[in-house]
């Protein structure tokens, strides 16, 4: 998607994040008609614009990703992770959240 690497802020699919990286949700693309339910479901699980998501790890063989969202652990399929667009955050080590 649109990436403005020069400003240090980029909007990338969640699937691009490496283990341990954090992003703030910008949007969730719903894709075609029938996938509407999936988008709603993602949002119902707490993945709404502005939410902070941390990627914990990915399962091998292009498997699902384990993410931390709103204080709990969620596994989402690769396809889902490609629909969630996040803004990368410059995280410094030791920087406390909240």
């Amino acid at each position: 998607m649109s990436s403005t690497a020069d400003t240090g802020v980029s909007e990338v699919p969640l699937a691009m994040l490496r283990d341990g990286e954090t992003g703030i949700v910008v949007s969730v693309k719903s894709g075609y008609g029938k996938a509407w339910g999936l988008k709603k479901r993602l949002m119902d699980m707490g993945i709404t614009p502005g939410t902070r998501i941390t990627v914990v790890k990915s399962a091998p063989f292009h498997g699902p990703m384990e993410i931390l969202v709103r204080g709990y652990r969620l596994a989402i399929g690769r396809g889902m992770a490609e629909r969630i667009f996040v803004r990368m955050e410059e995280t410094r080590a030791g920087c406390a959240e909240k």
Binding site: A35, K40, R41, H62, G63, G71, Y72, G77
Partner: protein
């Protein structure tokens, strides 16, 4: 019993300990079945409390009250239409925010609520302290801290429910206030749908219309089509104002409200050391260790189920056969006795010795896996492989279990989220060669043709399962599958809950499967005794002899194989009059016979399970399509093997 009745519904997210509370409340007075016409479990129970007969309904564990999943639709309808006197909303104290998101929607339904703030002990171990009195004040409903596994707070929960019912306690849920622009439009829309005749509050209908809820849209369309149009234009206005789609906006704002409340009432003290559960989670989802642990635990699960099953099976069989002399004495040996014995009692024995012994340890193991949280880790690891056949990771469990017995495997398909996934999983599961089919594969092909051929048949079966899974995924209508699954913290399963879940599901199984097994056994025996079976056999010769190239006798054996698959082999030996089957059948015939028995039909116990889970029609479709499949594969392989120069 003074006739005072009270209906309580338990509602909440999955993995919050709802079923533990349900079991604690109702003990042995439960009934577990399905919601009418759905593959969603319905658990009901009764108890007596302060002169009331209390009916408790355990609603499915859900995360929202929209209608894209059957579970959510069922829960919403139940609360709005059946109007339980009180809803006990069980929430997990350690994941407060997401749980409150659901609570806020319950409050929008304007139903009397008591909140069970569960697992407060786990939360405090994780460094989360919750001021429940403050939560009570903010939400406007009673909040009771509970530790369900220890029974703490359950009595108080019931007390509050009764107080609300008697009007002694006010439970006036506060409404979530959305942003000003949204709020304005909700009010406008609520006015427009006020007399739409729907069972929901007007404000709720308005919110759901703006959220793009399809079911509500369709219902409102019937009585007030102009309201749907209004919702659309209001939604577009909001979209222009905020730059997000309207459903996104509403969901976000509701989450913001939940976030605000959670932050108001909880104090976070991050624990210094990672908990044991945390470490366990890391190991069990590790890219190498995770798979090793999974293989080890599934193998031990498999052996546990079948070792325990075999012991029980033997005990039950010899016990039940012990009644035979008694039977002969009462009925006198002869035609009638034989019919009753072989038709009814042996059917019962088949059911009791084939299905039952395996179901008990299977259910125990499955609930243990599920309640502990390990199941979700397996799904996480296996998702990408299972995805290739249109299913997600959880389907791996029933598939593996299918190698033992298809019956528990089909029952295990319940763990899938949607009706469609359940059906696909059950369909492919019935094609997996169970222990009985293994008897045929190894006992016929493995013994007389060669073990490498037997192994090839297994590989062939796997290929067919894989391909058909893909095809079924393409053909069946419905949403594409994608994994969105919570991985809850590990915890020790609550033994009493696991036991009672096993027991009540077993009862349900016996109620449905046994009559079917007995009736079909009786029918086959009756057909045999009256000679009609012979006629069938000759009618089947175009298929058995001409198309499959098998001896005519196989017609009968395949019919009997429906009752128990390994019977097909046992009867074959008897009918062909040869203990050494290699003298009666060619290697090609053996291979073809094995292929046909591998695929042709789920056995009667499996069919009964399919009926119980999916209804008659779908069970019939699966059965028939598998017969056709077996015949096609059998006929083709006969010709290919002959062409390949085998005899």
């Amino acid at each position: 019993m003074n006739g005072k009745k009270l209906v309580i519904a338990l509602a909440g997210n999955a993995n919050v300990g709802k079923s533990v509370i349900f079991n604690y409340l109702t003990k042995l007075h439960q009934h577990i079945g399905n919601w009418p016409g759905k593959t969603v479990e319905k658990a009901e129970g009764t108890l007596h409390f302060k002169g009331y007969t209390v009916d408790v309904v355990d609603l499915p564990g859900i995360y929202s009250l929209s209608t894209y999943s059957t579970e959510e639709s069922i829960s919403r309808r139940f609360i709005a239409v059946e109007k339980p006197d009180v809803v006990i909303n069980v929430i997990d104290a350690s994941v407060l925010e997401r749980n409150l998101f659901f609570t806020l929607q319950l409050m929008e339904l304007e139903t009397p609520i008591v909140i069970a703030l569960n697992q407060v002990d786990v939360a405090s171990k994780k460094g989360i302290q919750i001021d429940f009195e403050k939560l009570e004040k903010i939400l406007g409903v009673p909040v009771v801290p509970t530790i369900a596994v220890k029974g703490v707070g359950i009595f108080k929960l019931l007390e509050k429910a009764v107080e609300i019912f008697e009007g002694k306690l006010e439970a006036k849920p506060r409404q979530v206030k959305y942003g000003e622009e949204v709020e304005e439009r909700i009010e406008k829309l609520a006015e427009a749908v006020r007399d739409s005749g729907l069972p929901y509050p007007a404000r709720y209908v308005a919110i759901k219309l703006l959220e793009g809820d399809r079911e509500i849209q369709e219902e409102v369309e019937k009585s007030k089509p102009q309201a749907v149009a209004l919702a659309r234009s209001l939604g577009e206005e909001l979209e222009r104002l905020h730059g997000h789609s309207c459903p996104t906006l509403i969901t976000s704002e509701r989450y913001q409200a939940a976030n605000y409340i959670a932050r108001e009432v909880q104090k976070l003290v991050p624990p210094v050391k990672p908990t044991l559960g945390e470490k366990l989670h890391n190991v069990t989802t590790h890219r190498v260790a995770g798979y090793l642990i999974m293989a080890a635990s599934l193998l031990s699960l498999f052996f546990f189920v079948f070792a325990v099953g075999n012991v029980f099976s033997d005990i039950l069989t010899s016990l039940l056969y012990g009644f035979k002399p008694f039977f002969e004495r009462v009925l006198g040996a002869g035609f009638f006795e034989e019919l009753v014995w072989e038709g009814v009692v042996e059917g019962l024995i088949a059911g009791a010795s084939v299905a039952l012994p395996y179901i008990i340890p299977f259910y125990l193991a499955l609930y243990f896996l599920e309640d502990s949280g390990y199941l979700s880790r397996i799904a996480f690891l296996m998702d990408s492989i299972m995805h290739k056949m249109g299913l997600h990771g959880k389907a791996f469990i029933p598939l593996i279990l299918g190698y033992g017995c298809n019956v528990p495997a089909c029952l295990g398909c319940r763990i899938m989220e949607t009706q469609r996934e359940r059906l696909i999983a059950a369909f492919v599961t019935t094609l997996v060669p169970c222990a009985a089919r293994t008897v045929i594969i190894l006992g016929l092909v493995g013994r007389f043709v060669g073990i490498q051929w037997a192994l090839m048949l297994y590989a062939f079966d796997l290929l067919v399962v894989f391909l058909l899974g893909r095809i079924a995924f393409r053909i069946l209508p419905g949403e594409p599958t994608g994994l969105i699954m919570e991985m809850p913290d590990y915890r020790l399963p609550h033994l009493k809950t696991v036991l009672s879940q096993t027991w009540f599901r077993l009862l349900e199984f016996m109620k449905i499967a046994f009559p079917l097994i007995i009736v079909s056994t009786f029918t086959v025996k009756l057909l045999e005794a009256t000679g009609i079976l012979r006629v069938f056999t000759s009618l089947l010769t175009p298929v058995t002899v001409a198309w499959l190239g098998l001896p005519a006798e196989t017609g009968i054996t395949l019919l009997f194989g429906v009752l128990r698959k390994e019977l097909a082999l046992i009867m074959l030996a008897t009918l062909l009059g040869a203990a050494d089957l290699s003298k009666a059948l060619t290697p090609v015939q053996m291979t073809v016979f094995t292929i046909v028995s591998m695929f042709y039909i789920p056995c009667v116990a499996t069919i009964a399970t399919l009926v119980m889970e999916f209804g008659w029609r779908k069970a019939l479709v699966i059965t028939l399509s598998e017969i056709v499949l077996a015949l096609i594969l059998g006929g083709l392989s006969f010709r290919i093997l002959i062409l390949a120069g085998l005899t």
